[in-house]
């Protein structure tokens, strides 16, 4: 298990329970991952039917793993994973480790987009942090990165930090969002910004960072539909710190170096068993796709764990059966679809499709089409927004997929206008 965060712990627990030997490799000093720095509430509503903080939530998994005797190594950095399922890792008690596994689960999580990755121009003073980095400083290290803030991007961590810093007596001047809508969860917009009168400025972005040593302020400008600055709309906001909450990227350098295919969303290409393009290497949690809630990460990790158990018990080193794969394609208004492909022979099982839309819409139709544009499945929805991942649990047998089906295109389109509604 590469990574001892929520995903790694949840998957390790189901594997251990199935009677297999599992080892977690964690690069930080303790188990728990990023959830440890999320000291706000809102965790566990799906998983435990109660509301917990991040550390409370993940501690339950840590306790269970410890009770079950799951093995783990801390401060252990995985350097390399190979196709032959050998893991090279390093720590200061064992030195260089070379571990052969029957199956590997990738649960490395994600990292934040930085200023460089969005190519933000301006000076490069001290006082610019990603929201998660500021969260670590405040909640784990016990330091305040600044006094007055502007937050770029209305991602969840950004909004949560806006509230957290307000509690610390800091001033959050504004949350600036380039899209015309908030990019995190609505509940965070209400509970973290509106309840504290923190202005959310949409359709604006930061066009200049001021200050040569420490941040002195930012210029924000309104943008048009192509995100180009509209001249004459510049506003200066004084602040000493800029936080960026502009998106998360699955952390897949190990996956890539192992030789697994990576899909456009940044996560590995997986089938309906969450198995990557390398036999016996699975992926789950934010390394596969960025989730809205840790509860959903845990659910996905359990599936990966069970599939890995099945692989070790039934498929490991067995002659390779020819797979017939049906590709999943992101169609209209769909950003990406997981799984990237699925086994036709697995049709008896339920398949969980998860995807995100590119832009919000109301009164829509989710539609699956095969390569001949034959509609195989459709479902109506009242609304869709990019910040909410859509999950559909489908039994393909019931769907009656045509014999010659090679691909499924998932699209989210407006519902056809009904002139006379008989219902």
């Amino acid at each position: 298990m590469i990574g001892g965060g929520s995903a790694g712990l949840a998957a390790a627990i189901v594997i251990k329970k199935a009677g297999l030997d599992v080892l977690i490799l964690e690069r930080d000093r303790e188990l728990g991952g990023i959830t440890l720095q999320c000291i706000h509430n809102g965790f566990g509503i799906h998983e435990f039917k109660e509301e917990l903080t991040g550390p409370e939530f993940v501690q339950r998994f840590i306790n269970e793993a410890l009770d079950l005797g799951v093995k783990y190594k801390l401060d252990t950095m995985v350097i390399k994973v190979t196709k032959e399922k050998i893991v090279y890792a390093i720590n200061n008690t064992d030195g260089m480790l070379e571990i052969k596994a029957k199956a590997i689960i990738l649960a490395m999580g994600c990292r934040e987009r930085t200023r460089g990755s969005i190519n933000m121009p301006g000076f490069r003073p001290a006082g610019i942090y990603t929201a998660g980095q500021a969260q670590r400083f405040v909640n784990v290290e016990g330091y305040l990165p600044g006094r007055s803030y502007v937050i770029l991007g209305s991602g969840d961590i950004g909004m949560i930090m806006a509230r957290r810093l307000t509690w610390e007596g800091c001033k959050v001047k504004a949350v600036v969002e380039i899209q015309p809508y908030v990019s995190g969860l609505i509940r965070n917009q209400v509970q973290c910004l509106e309840d504290y009168d923190i202005p959310l400025i949409t359709s604006y972005t930061i066009t200049r960072i001021h200050g040569r040593h420490r941040v002195k302020g930012v210029t924000i400008s309104k943008v048009d539909r192509k995100f180009d600055r509209i001249i004459g709309t510049d506003r200066f906001i004084e602040c000493d710190t800029l936080l960026l909450s502009v998106g998360l990227i699955p952390e897949n350098e190990l996956t890539q170096n192992a030789g697994a295919d990576i899909s456009l969303n940044g996560g590995p290409v997986v089938d309906n068993n969450l198995e990557t393009t390398i036999d016996g290497i699975f992926a789950c949690g934010n390394v596969l796709q960025v989730h809205d809630l840790v509860d959903l990460v845990v659910a996905e990790a359990k599936r990966a764990g069970l599939n890995a158990v099945e692989y070790v018990n039934e498929r490991y080193e067995k002659p390779f059966e020819t797979k017939e794969l049906i590709k999943c394609i992101a169609g209209a208004n769909v950003n990406y679809v997981k799984p990237d492909h699925f086994n036709k022979s697995d049709q008896a099982n339920d398949i969980i499709f998860s995807f995100r839309v590119k832009r919000p819409d109301r009164r829509i139709l989710i539609q699956f089409k095969d390569q001949n544009n034959k509609v195989i499945f459709k479902r109506k929805r009242r609304y869709v927004i990019p910040s909410e991942m859509i999950e559909l649990n489908l039994n393909l047998k019931e769907l009656e997929i045509p014999q010659d089906c090679k691909s499924l295109e998932v699209e989210v389109i407006p519902q056809p206008e009904v002139l006379i509604d008989n219902t």
Binding site: I90, N92, G116, P121, F123, A126, Q133, L144
Partner: protein, 488 residues
């Protein structure tokens, strides 16, 4: 005490001079305005060691560049900084540019630039550089051109100079210079330094320093160049790629770095403000468009940082290396491109000047030109690493995940001669924070290590010196202070 020589400026020019002179039995010190050496132009340039065909024959920088290029071989062996002679292409996209390249080739060969060749066979060109645009019609290939990490080289120079007795003083902005009875008294923000000879290698500020001694015969104008750096392993280039040159600069190049990244830049914009290092939307767009003319599949989405550097452009357009009318005062100013290439040749020129000034140049018995190669985790073999870790577990404690930097390398960078005292100081010596997450994960731990090793509180750790603190206080500080003020 009165030094034999004071050098003002801790960029690549000043540090090369310091290191070159450190072999003599002289008392030398170097004064740097910023919190660390290699903080100005040295930190933000293309890191290209030019072959030397580019500059006009009327300039001294042409010959210094050609000589300087050759001197890199020995310097690299002695100082162990990252440097590779990978060769450069000047890319012609139109037939009309071929004549110009042929002219450069002919003159270059005459002046001693080795192995210049004009390649017109498109297939051969694409074989040598598969990512190059299909529109290429010919290239001027200069095999002696190379890539170097300019700041790591400067740190290597400073370390070696310090090992051989040169004193380095940082955070010393020169505010006044007096020259009386053949003694220079240099007043800085923090103290006074005296010497018999004074070398001005103050980069962008060189004309200000010169004016302090009444020498008002040149001006330095900053010319900004912006860059975008891309993640490692996204694009593999074999060669440094220049477009056919324009009057103001060598154009926007696409170039690999010694660490496996690729960068695109710089553009050229004349400005007036000596510390305007800001990047601009228009500038970044310009360099991306420029780079895509050479490499159409530039990995635009995997940029990890953009930055700007300032060239110190003299009004003469050529290096100003003068034994001035003020006895003992040497100007080494206007060191624009190819200054990095020329630095070793420039330092030799300074040696000659000092000899003319009657400075006794006796080589020290214990002079050691070797700066040992810094031990790097990523350079070790498996066996070496196992041995290292057994002896010292800090080799296995990885602090920077993107670049795989263990705690030991960071501690070594802090305790090296002229070592790191800031977060950027650590970053530019051993790379934590240079990778794709830009310090997102390692910054708190680098701060912790700095705080422990240098015995300074976390709140006083800075990014790069005064007024660049990274944290401003402990949690609850503001709340408690507020409560106190309210008398609760």
């Amino acid at each position: 005490m009165i030094y034999d020589i004071i050098i003002i400026g801790g960029g690549v020019t000043g540090c090369t001079i310091a290191r070159t002179l450190s072999k003599y039995d002289l008392n030398i010190c170097l004064l740097e305005k910023e919190a660390d050496i290699a903080s100005g132009t040295t930190k933000a340039n293309s890191g290209v060691v030019h072959a030397g065909y580019a500059a006009d024959r009327k300039y001294i920088k042409r010959n210094l560049c050609i000589q300087g290029n050759k001197l890199y071989t020995q310097a690299h062996e002695e100082l162990n900084f990252p440097f590779r002679r990978i060769g450069s292409f000047v890319v012609a996209l139109e037939d009309i540019q071929i004549g110009e390249l042929e002219e450069k080739r002919k003159k270059g060969l005459q002046d001693g630039v080795p192995d210049l060749e004009l390649i017109l066979d498109k297939e051969k060109i694409k074989q040598m550089e598969p990512n190059l645009t299909d529109k290429v019609v010919g290239v001027l290939h200069a095999p002696s051109a190379g890539i170097v990490s300019p700041y790591e080289m400067t740190h290597a120079l400073a370390e070696n100079a310090a090992m051989n007795g040169v004193k380095f003083f940082r955070n010393q902005e020169v505010i006044k210079i007096r020259h009386q009875e053949y003694v220079f008294t240099v007043k800085t923000g923090e103290g006074e330094f005296q010497s018999n000879n004074l070398i001005n290698a103050a980069g962008l500020y060189a004309s200000r320093i010169s004016k302090m001694l009444g020498l008002d015969y040149f001006d330095i104008m900053p010319r900004k160049g912006q860059y975008i750096l891309f993640d490692r392993n996204m694009l593999h280039l074999n060669k440094i790629l220049f477009p056919s040159p324009t009057k103001v600069s060598k154009g926007i190049l696409v170039c690999p770095t010694v660490h496996g990244n690729t960068f695109v830049g710089p553009n050229a914009q004349n400005i007036v403000d000596l510390d305007d290092l800001s990047t601009t939307t228009a500038g970044l767009k310009e360099i991306l468009e420029g780079g895509m003319k050479l490499i159409p599949n530039l990995p635009v989405r995997s940029s990890i940082r953009n930055f700007a550097g300032l060239r110190a452009v003299p009004d003469t357009m050529d290096f100003i290396i003068d034994n001035t009318d003020v006895y003992g005062f040497i100007n080494v100013a206007g060191i624009l491109s190819p200054g990095l290439t020329s630095c070793f040749a420039i330092a030799e020129r300074v040696e000659e000047f000092l000899e003319l000034l009657g400075v006794e140049m006796k080589v020290k018995d214990d002079y050691n030109p070797i700066r040992p190669k810094p031990e790097r985790f990523t350079n070790f073999t498996r066996e070496e690493l196992d041995k290292k870790i057994k002896k010292d577990p800090l080799w296995a404690r990885i602090v920077c995940r993107c670049e795989t930097i263990p705690e030991r390398e960071i501690i070594n960078a802090i305790h090296a001669p002229v070592g790191a005292t800031t977060v950027d100081g650590v970053k530019f010596r051993c790379r934590p924070g240079m990778g794709r997450c830009q310090g997102g994960f390692c910054r708190p731990r680098v701060m912790e290590i700095l705080s422990r090793e240098l015995n300074i509180p976390m709140e006083e750790i800075t990014k790069r010196g005064e007024d660049t603190n990274i944290v401003v206080g402990k949690t609850k500080d503001f709340i408690l202070r507020k409560l106190e003020q309210e008398g609760r």
